[in-house]
Every structure is written in structure tokens, then in C-alpha cells.
Amino acid sequence: MAVETHVLDDDCEAITGWGRTAPTLARVHRPRGHAEVVDSVRSSGARGTIARGLGRAAGDAAQNAGGTVLDMTGLARILSVDPAAGLVTCEAGVSLHRLMEALLPHGWFVPVSPGTRYVTVGGAIGADVHGRNHHLSGSFARHVTALRLLTADGEIRTVLPGTPLFDATAGGMGLTGVILSATLRLLPVGTSLMRVVTERARDLDDLMARLIADDHRHRYSAARIDLLARGAATGRAVLTRGDHLPYDALPRRHRARRAPLVFRPGRLPGPPPYVPGGVLGRTTVGLFNELRYRTAPRARTGGIQSLAAFFHPLDSVPHWNRIHGREGFVRYRFVVPYGREEALRTVVRRIADRGCPSFRAVLKRFGAADPGWLSFPLPGWALALDLPTGLPGLGAFLDGLDEEVAGAGGRVHLADDARVRPEVLAAMYPRVGEFRALRAALDPRSVFTSDLARRLDL
């Protein structure tokens, strides 16, 4: 076991999640077809393998220290579209961006879109991502009608919803196998525009009341909270709801009348590779939040936005994660069930009192729970924030919030997690025992493993 400083092959890379914390080294394989995936999994060594998409998970779910990482973005073919049934079958490495490009002109939209469209279909199933329509549509895997999964024994299985393997794979963080392809149910849309309703909520209680009152009237709903506002204004927010704009509802003479289904999102310049830490501190984020709150209309209906502006405002800035500097950021995404609003209030108050400068803080209401054993959503309130890792004492502070969340029967999202204590996992995910048992039976040698799996003993 002597040191071999020349061991760095060309295909070895230090890998982090989108949060850019805790880098580890892995050998990266870029398979171009199913056969190459099978070869790579068969030849994976003692430290196993994990599939990775576009690396948007904030935590360490798609890292595998000392082992193999399968970069699935090469498997990016759209295999078939069934316009009658509204189904698309595609390989796992296809991004939602690509699906939108290909399918919007034909009047189809993805059923669930998270805050970025640069996620792959495989990743969206593995993390069972949710969007602003969870209260109506559930999370991503709910719209998957079948998937092809390569398991540890080298077999490729067709997995159907309702089976234990499907429910373990949906939200299973890639630990049941490699998703090769999937069939999704699409959403028909008349235009590529959104009809948007914006309003301001003056504090957290006002915000929650407004969310409860009107959420069911809109397909999409989310609120951006200003977590630096304190005192009476704690939890003040800008609430945005939206629906797909039908063609008939387009204003006369609107330029979209001629090309209602065009999808052409713009790209802005990204931040440079090296940004000093602390750029997003209390002052900058405070100013930004103030501006966002003050410039938002008190109440406005009838606004029209493009899909990209409504769903993925940050996607126009490439590498925006660099803005947090070298130390990176931690995404704290948690949910507490209905009836335990007090826990949400406590957490929000503690974050506000501490003055955590969160550039993004999004609150939304979830609908019914999803069948995935490790799926994140449960009926309740979900809040997501991005915090710079360099804040002093942040680790211990978040541990305290974990206690509050787990105590209320809530949980944090595994795809975004990079820090939760293994001890609280079982309280957050009561079905983790079943998941471990299925994994032990399906993959006794732990061919599929990741830094997340090692850290939390999944």
C-alpha cells in the first residue's frame, strides 16, 4: 500500500456535488451505450460504482470516493414518442432541457420540473424530484410508467410502478442500480408561456394563510421568503403562482400568436472560476432581498412569463454555484408535515434571528406523499435554502434544526444533503430499514454505492 502519486489516470477526477463541498476522487466512465454500462458495472472494483447525471444534486449523492462514477450524459437519445397517449421513452441521460427542446414544439411539457432543467431523467427518478406542482401532481416518479434498470447481477429489468423495486428506485439515489431508460407521461400545453399571479405576503402567517387559501387554484405555486427580515416581518415573502397559458388566452397581437410553442431560453455570462468567499453575505443578500420584496407587485394577475423565466430563472446563469466561493454552499431542504406548523415557524424564526444570508429560500406546500421509500415529499410545508458553508458555526446550527424537523416528523432531502447525522436518518425516513433490506438482497456486494450511502449507511 505504498503511495503512488502517478496513479492519476486521465479518467480520474475529483468530484463534488453542485454545492462544491467535500470533493472525492473517482474514476469516471462515460458509457455510450447499454453494453458499455453493463461492462463498466461488471468490472467495478471493491469500491463500487454510482451513476451520475448533470451533477445538480447539491450533496454527495453522485460521488463515489475511490470507485467508479458512471457519467450517464452520453446516453441521451429520445427513443420514441407516443403522441396519442402523451408518452415519451428516452434514455436516462437525457436532460429535461433536451426534452423541452424536443417536445415543446409539439405541445408537450415535462410533468414535473425542479428548479433547474439541467437534470437528467435518470437523476430525476433517482432523487424523485418535485416541482412547484407537487400539491397537484406529486413528484417525478409518479409520472414514470416504466423504467429499465440494470441491477448488480448484470441483469436489465423492466420495472413497473407499484412494485417494491420501483418504489425503492424512485428516490433511491441510484443505489438499486443504473436506470438506463424510462417512459414518462407528458403534459399537453397550448403555448410555451405561463400566466402568472404574483402577490406579497407581509409575514409567515400571512404567507401560510395565502398558500392554503389559493394553492389548489393554480397548477404551480411557490413563495420566495426573505429570511433576513426579522421581527414582525419575519417570513415576509413574494408568492408566485402560475398556469400554462392556453392558446386562446393569448392577448391579441401578442407575438406568441404566430409561434406559441417556441422554446428559446437565454444564457447570461456566468461568474468567473474563482470567486472569493463571502460575496453572498448578509449585506448583499439583505439588499437583494429588500429589492426583490419592494419591486414585487403587491398583487398582480395576468402577468405572462416564458417557461424558462418562470421555472428556471437561475439556469440562465451558467455555473452560478461558483458565486459562493471556494468553500461552496450547503442546501438545506426540509419538509414538516401539516399540523406541525409550529416546527416550521420555529425553524424560520431561528434562521431569521441568526441572520443566515440565504440567497434562495423557497417555501411550498406539498400534496399527497409519494410511494418511493426514500422519496422526500410528504404532505406538509417544504422550505429550501442555500447557505454559504463558511458561516461560522453553521454545522452545529443545522444539526439543531434537524432535531426540530425530525422531531416534528419531517425530513431533509437526501439529494441535497451533505451533512445530516446518520443517527437522525431513521426518524426522518421510517422506511430506510426496508430499503436497506432490499439493497442487501439485490446487491449483496454493494456494487452500487456512493459517498452519500457510506456517510449515512444507506
Binding site: M1, E4, V7, A22, T24, L25, G66, G395
Partner: protein, 251 residues
């Protein structure tokens, strides 16, 4: 695995009775560390150290390790890594020696050099190789400001630390981009049993302060950590003091 803040879940302390090593272990156990290996010469002190950490709730195991017995390092330390990943190795062993006596007793002086430098080269390489094989981890090396510039008062100890420091820096460069992070820690005068009875130098610090600096350095993935931080500036100046003048300084 380390979490987003660089806090390790498993820790190996080489020099299991080192006060700085134990202060660091205590601090990390309060965060994420659940498994601790204490490597050192079997002694009641090592057992007591293990018990004190166990009382904090960690799973502590001891392993016999002698810095001078370099032949056995590969086997002894390699075995630890086969039992599971080690997220952080703290190289904390070292002896101060007795400058006045060692100058007249070359054999004793060589022991200081062998412990602090040769033993660290051997153990450091074994651990670095194992960390590299697992693709992640931190190797934290306790150097000293004494290695930054040789002083009349402790140049035997200082030169051994200078060698260790240069070794660790080079190792860090060799391992750059491999997922393994090498961090050189340069404390000033640390109030501990090692320095008991010695005249205290300016900017003296404590094992607890060193532990805190190590935790911060892990989070920042620092390559060099000075404790206290002001020493970085002080030593930048001291390094350039001309020798005829330096000789006469009361340091």
C-alpha cells in the same frame, strides 16, 4: 465520509497520547466523529486516553504503533484501513528532546530526528497511500513554528520539524487533485506536558486552540494553518531577519 464542513466520521491519531491529538479528537467527536483509532506505544496512558474518548460516546480502538519501528508501519497501519474508511489521519507524534543534553549526546539527538522526521516520513507515506486508495480523506500533519527558522535554543527539534514540514508540503502537492487533502499545522508554543517547565514564548497557545484551528482548516480545506493565526505574519517577518541580528534576538 466527511460532511460538507469537512468534519470526519472516522479518525486515526498517530501518537495516541498526544495532548493536541486528544483535544482534536474530543472536538471532532462533538461534531461527527464516531470511530477513533489511537495508535501509540501500548501504555496505561494510551488506555486512559482511549477510555476518556469512549466516555464521550465514540467507538475507540487502540493499535500498537512505534514511530521508531518503521519496518512495522506498513503492516500495522495498513490493517486499520482494511477495517473501513478513515476520513482523517492526524500525525501528532513527536518528541521535544533536551537541546542541551542532545547536543552532547548524538545518539539522543538522532532519536529526536528519527521520531519526528523519519518515523513521520514512513507513517505519512503509508497513510497517504491508503487515503489515496480510498479516494478521499485528510492527512493533518503537526509541524511547528520551530521548523520555520532554526533557533539556537532548539535547533535539533526545529530541524526535525523543518524536515517534516517540507515533507508534508511536498506530499500535499503530490496528492493535489487526488481527493486527499494534506494540511500542515504550525502551532507556536503550546502549553502542554511536552513543554512543561519551559519558559513560555510569546503568542503561546493551548491544545484546544490548535484543535479549533484544525477543525476550521478542515472546513476551508487549508494547506497551511498557523496557531495562533497571527504567527503567519510574525514568522513572515522573522524569516527575513539577517542571521547576525537573529542570533542576538532573545528568542
Amino acid at each position: 465520509m466527511k460532511d460538507a464542513f469537512g468534519a470526519p466520521q472516522s479518525l486515526l491519531v498517530l501518537g495516541g497520547t498526544s495532548e493536541i491529538g486528544l483535544a482534536t479528537a474530543r472536538r471532532l467527536i462533538a461534531r461527527r466523529t464516531r470511530t477513533v483509532w489511537l495508535a501509540g506505544r501500548p501504555s496505561p496512558a494510551l488506555t486512559a486516553a482511549a477510555d476518556s474518548l469512549r466516555a464521550l460516546g465514540a467507538d475507540v480502538r487502540t493499535v500498537p504503533f512505534d514511530a521508531l519501528d518503521t519496518e512495522a508501519h506498513e503492516e500495522r497501519l495498513g490493517k486499520i484501513f482494511t477495517e473501513g474508511d478513515i476520513d482523517m489521519v492526524l500525525l501528532a507524534f513527536g518528541v521535544l528532546g533536551d537541546q542541551a543534553r542532545d547536543e552532547s549526546d548524538p545518539v539522543a539527538a538522532v532519536r529526536v530526528a528519527q521520531t519526528n522526521y523519519t518515523g513521520a516520513v514512513s507513517a505519512g507515506l503509508v497513510c497517504a497511500g491508503a487515503l489515496q486508495a480510498q479516494g478521499h480523506g485528510s492527512l493533518v500533519v503537526l509541524s511547528s513554528v520551530a521548523g520555520e527558522r532554526a533557533r539556537r535554543a532548539d535547533f535539533i527539534y526545529g530541524s526535525s520539524k523543518a524536515g517534516l514540514d517540507a515533507f508534508a508540503q511536498g506530499l500535499g502537492d503530490a496528492l493535489h487533485g487526488t481527493g486527499v487533502h494534506v494540511m500542515v499545522v504550525r502551532p507556536g508554543f503550546v502549553r502542554s506536558k511536552m513543554t512543561a517547565g519551559l519558559a513560555e514564548a510569546p503568542l503561546a497557545t493551548t491544545p484546544e486552540a490548535v484543535a479549533g484551528a484544525i477543525e476550521l482548516g478542515l472546513r476551508r480545506r487549508s494547506e497551511t494553518v498557523w496557531v495562533p493565526g497571527a504567527l503567519r505574519v510574525v514568522m513572515a517577518a522573522v524569516r527575513h531577519v539577517p542571521r547576525p541580528l537573529f542570533r542576538r534576538l532573545p528568542v
